[in-house]
Subunit: 142 residues, 2 copies
DNA sequence: ATAAATTGCTACCTTTTTGTAGTAATTAAT
DNA sequence: ATTAATTACTACAAAAAGGTAGCAATTTAT
C-alpha cells in the first residue's frame, strides 16, 4: 500500500485544487500551502498538465486549472498516470509467471483484496472530495 | 499497491521455502531457482535472519531454515519487517496532518479498503501457502 | 591438516527518485 | 516599451534503492 512520494504529491495537489473553490492556482501558492519543494512541484504540475488533468496558463496571472470536470477524474486514474497503469496488477509474491491459470498461493485472496481497493479508488472522484469538503464532512488536513 | 522490489524478493524467497518441503535452503539454490541477483539475495537472507524469520547456518552443508513454525509467520509481518510497520498507515492523499479527528476527504473510504487488505495479509500465513501448494490448489509460479 | 562449501561483512558501483538552480518564454499591468 | 508574474525547460546534485565483487569466518568431508 505504498505510493511513491511523487504520486502522493500529485494527489495532494489535485485534492487541494478540488476542495478549495478557486479557479486558478499558481505553483507558488500550491508550494506554500502544501510545502512541496518548489521546483519539484513545478515539474510535477507541468507533468500533470501533459497528462491531461490540468491546463497551464503562462504569464502574469497564469497558473493551473482543471482540464475537465472534477467529477470525471477519479483517484485511480491519477495513480495510474503516475505509477503506471498496471502497477497494481503484479503478483504479490513477486512471481512473474503468476497468472490466473497458473496462480501463486496468494493469487485469489490477493486479487479479491486488490479489486476492492481499485473499486474504491475508481469510484471516488475529485468531485466527491470537493463535495465532502464543501459540506464540512472532512477537513483540508493542512 | 506497490511493494519495493526487495520486499517482493523477500516474499518470493519465504513463499518458495514454505512451499517446497525441504528443511534447509542454500542461497545459491534460491538464487538459481528464483533468479534473484546472487549477492543481493545473500544480503537479503542475512537480513531476514536478523529479523527472525529464518536461521542461518554457516559452513559446508549450511543454509537457511525457518526460525519458527510457518503457521506463525503471516504475510503482513513480512511486509512490515521490510517496509516499516506503518508504511500502510499513511494518508492516501499524502497529508501529514490527516488523522481520525481531522480527516482528509479520502480518510474513511481509504481506511476501510486498507483494513480489508491488512486483514487478508494478516490472516494468511506461510503455513497456509504451504498447504495450498501441497494440495495442488496452486502452483509455484516458476 | 586440508580442501570445499557455505554464510557474513565491507566497500564500491549503477540506476532511480527526489530536490535545486538558473534561464528562456509568455502574458498582463502599467 | 517596460516591468512583473508567471510557466517551461535544461542541467545538475543529493539521496535512496538495487546490484556486484571479493575476502573473511565457519563448518563439514576427506
Amino acid at each position: 500500500m505504498i505510493l511513491s512520494r511523487t504520486t502522493e504529491y500529485a494527489l495532494s495537489v489535485l485534492a487541494f485544487m478540488a476542495t478549495r473553490n478557486q479557479k486558478m492556482y499558481a505553483a507558488e501558492l500550491l508550494h506554500q500551502e502544501l510545502k512541496i519543494p518548489r521546483q519539484y512541484l513545478r515539474r510535477l504540475l507541468t507533468d500533470l498538465s501533459k497528462k491531461g488533468f490540468i491546463i497551464s496558463t503562462r504569464g502574469r496571472s497564469g497558473g493551473f486549472v482543471f482540464a475537465r470536470d472534477m467529477s470525471t477524474i477519479n483517484i485511480a486514474q491519477i495513480i495510474d498516470a503516475l505509477e503506471g497503469a498496471d502497477a497494481m496488477n503484479t503478483c504479490l509474491l513477486g512471481f512473474t509467471a503468476c497468472i490466473a491459470g497458473h496462480p501463486c498461493a496468494m493469487h485469489d485472496l490477493w486479487a479479491e483484496s486488490r479489486s476492492k481497493v481499485i473499486e474504491t479508488l475508481t469510484k471516488t472522484t475529485l468531485g466527491d472530495l470537493s463535495e465532502k469538503y464543501r459540506k464540512d464532512i472532512v477537513t483540508g488536513c493542512l
